[in-house]
Symmetry: C2
Subunit: 361 residues, 2 copies
């Protein structure tokens, strides 16, 4: 979703540069401390992986800080480093996610496990190289998680700030892993259970991507008030849900040139998305059988995908999901109107809400 972080009148491109600098400093320090070529390789690999990110989480964290402090100037480095640590955590989540989904590429580059499999293919069987790639990616993900801790602990927050942030970080980790686990155990066997599909969206995306980064930003901005945190959630959760609902729609109906995502992957995996659960719920028995037959088939081709799209449209599910997206966007924007935040922060959050839920197909 290119341009999703260009939201509002705050100078977010400048914030992004500072977050990137914080990451660069972290990697430079790491690279200066280690001597083995393998450690250097892992540092370089993670640095390159992070280079293509949209920085949604670090930006929302920083906007949370702006919202409380009212400063339009750049946040202090402790806040930028805290925000940057969320990007290292996200690298961990994505690298493991790519292994779990067996994805071949991300942001137009080979995924870490594919890259390492190719890098170490020499004098190994394809299967050995594949295993090596997976093992290396698991380890690089683990390292990114450990390093997100290191960056957070060394961010320069006061002891009181750090003590306030840690429980939110812990909640965030538990939530995203819970969401991922629900995703994993439902993948390959989608059902008509829409409540479960919403749970996955909430934990895997809405809380992790929007709510918790904002909670952290608000907290390091100096506000620990429960009412403000709840108001942030009232904005963040519907927007996060709408964001994922849009993503799921684009995963089936979007244009791969614009989304950068294969249109077959979710279908071949048999992802238990809300869209699919809803379609299964509204399908007649012929439609349901066809969906069960096609979803999760690793050999699914463009013709099969077109059949699925036909059934989805016939059940009315995409239109209902569009309606849910509008609904959630409206609710989030209504919350914004009541938030006691300065206009530039409100503007940024409003633009984010619009962009995160917009059609791109």
């Amino acid at each position: 979703m290119p341009g999703i972080t260009e939201f509002g009148t705050l100078d977010l491109s400048c914030i992004r540069q500072r977050v990137d600098s914080a990451l660069d400093d972290f990697f430079d320090t790491k690279a200066n401390k280690v001597d083995s070529p393998e450690q250097q390789e892992l540092i370089a690999l993670l640095r390159r992986f992070l280079a293509g990110g949209k920085r949604i989480r670090s930006t929302l964290c920083t906007v949370g800080w702006h919202a409380i402090t009212g400063h339009e100037a750049l946040p202090p480095s402790a806040v930028l480093r805290t925000a940057a640590s969320l990007e290292l955590f996200h690298a961990f989540a994505l690298i493991h996610d790519d292994v779990m989904d067996n994805s071949a590429s991300r942001r137009g580059m080979p995924t870490i496990h594919r890259y390492l499999a190719a890098r170490y293919a020499d004098r190994r069987s394809p299967q050995q190289a594949e295993c090596l790639g997976i093992s290396g990616a698991i380890l690089l993900g683990d390292l990114a998680l450990a390093w997100s801790d290191e960056l957070l602990h060394a961010a320069g927050l006061t002891p009181a700030e750090l003590a306030g942030v840690l429980p939110i970080i812990e909640a965030m980790r538990n939530e995203v892993m819970h969401g991922q686990y629900l995703d994993v155990i439902t993948t390959g066997r989608p059902t008509a259970d829409t409540a479960r599909a919403l749970d996955i969206i909430r934990y895997k995306t809405a809380k992790y991507t929007i709510e918790r980064p904002m909670h952290i930003g608000v907290l390091v901005g100096g506000c620990a008030a429960e009412a403000i945190r709840a108001a942030v959630s009232a904005y963040a959760l519907p927007i996060g849900e709408a964001f994922q609902l849009r993503d799921d729609l684009l995963g089936v109906f979007g244009s791969p040139e614009q989304t950068g995502k294969s249109i077959l992957e979710d279908l071949r995996d048999g992802k238990h998305t809300y869209l699919m659960a809803l379609a299964l719920r509204h399908a007649d028995s012929d439609q349901r059988n066809l969906l069960y037959e096609l979803l999760g088939n690793p050999e699914l081709d463009e013709h099969g995908a077109a059949q699925i799209r036909g059934v989805l449209q016939a059940t009315g599910a995409p239109a209902i999901v569009e309606h849910m997206i509008s609904n959630r966007r409206r609710r989030a924007l209504a919350v914004l109107a009541d938030l006691p935040f300065p206009p530039p922060a409100i503007e940024a959050l409003k633009n984010f809400a619009l962009r995160a839920t917009a059609r791109i197909s």
Copy 2:
């Protein structure tokens, strides 16, 4: 290695019980906080996984505390919880290690990925179930890592103690992941590079299993003196190396009934152990070709394993490794004689050194 933690006159079985209680309390608190059956399932799974552990790291951490404080009474709960957090970290390392090594069982039970694959096999292809098992194990490992942090942060250490412990924890994580990565990229292609094999042992085992847990124990015991930490390393590193050298010997020559480990696994994986690197270095070209042909063959059978053992013996590598083990044990025991620790701690460390390096075949 049954009984390895029964070392010395300190009441280590009581320490072990208290560490287990700290883990139980942690899991109970977790279980009370979550409501979904999937979260309960993951908690139960991790609890069961941890039940069979030898508690080497938590025990050595606690012995480090005893060594500094001189108390023979039980350490305070903050120390026990810190020690217990090492066991949660170790669960993370083992669960991911089992995925990376594609191991079928651990401590006589199915590994986590195998268990989950069987648990969710219904209406999935064998390949889908296998992928699900791997994904679930990656996530449960991630969760164990996150929870080791939670237990450490909530252990009740003073801010100064925690600030002292964190850099050691960070070093430990980096070291074990570095060692694992070296292991991963050399597996399947063992060479005569003995220096690299020693690096793997040092990072993956000696530092992670012995040195860092003791450093943490000594620190929470109140000693931050560099000289004491260096003396601990002078004991810990040779014992840790000897421990792994013994493990590698047993992995090829041991009796599976006594070690609980398959004698084929390391050979089928083509692990770059010190033993193997040494054999390749001393082998003539026929022997070397035979080793290259057999090592890393996933179909290797008992006959092939016997051929490998024959070549190893003919190169003299096992005898050299035995000699290295004795040498390292002697060096570690000599260090102990000079350590300013109270007799019960010295006794415990001496017994550990003897047991960790003893033959069991």
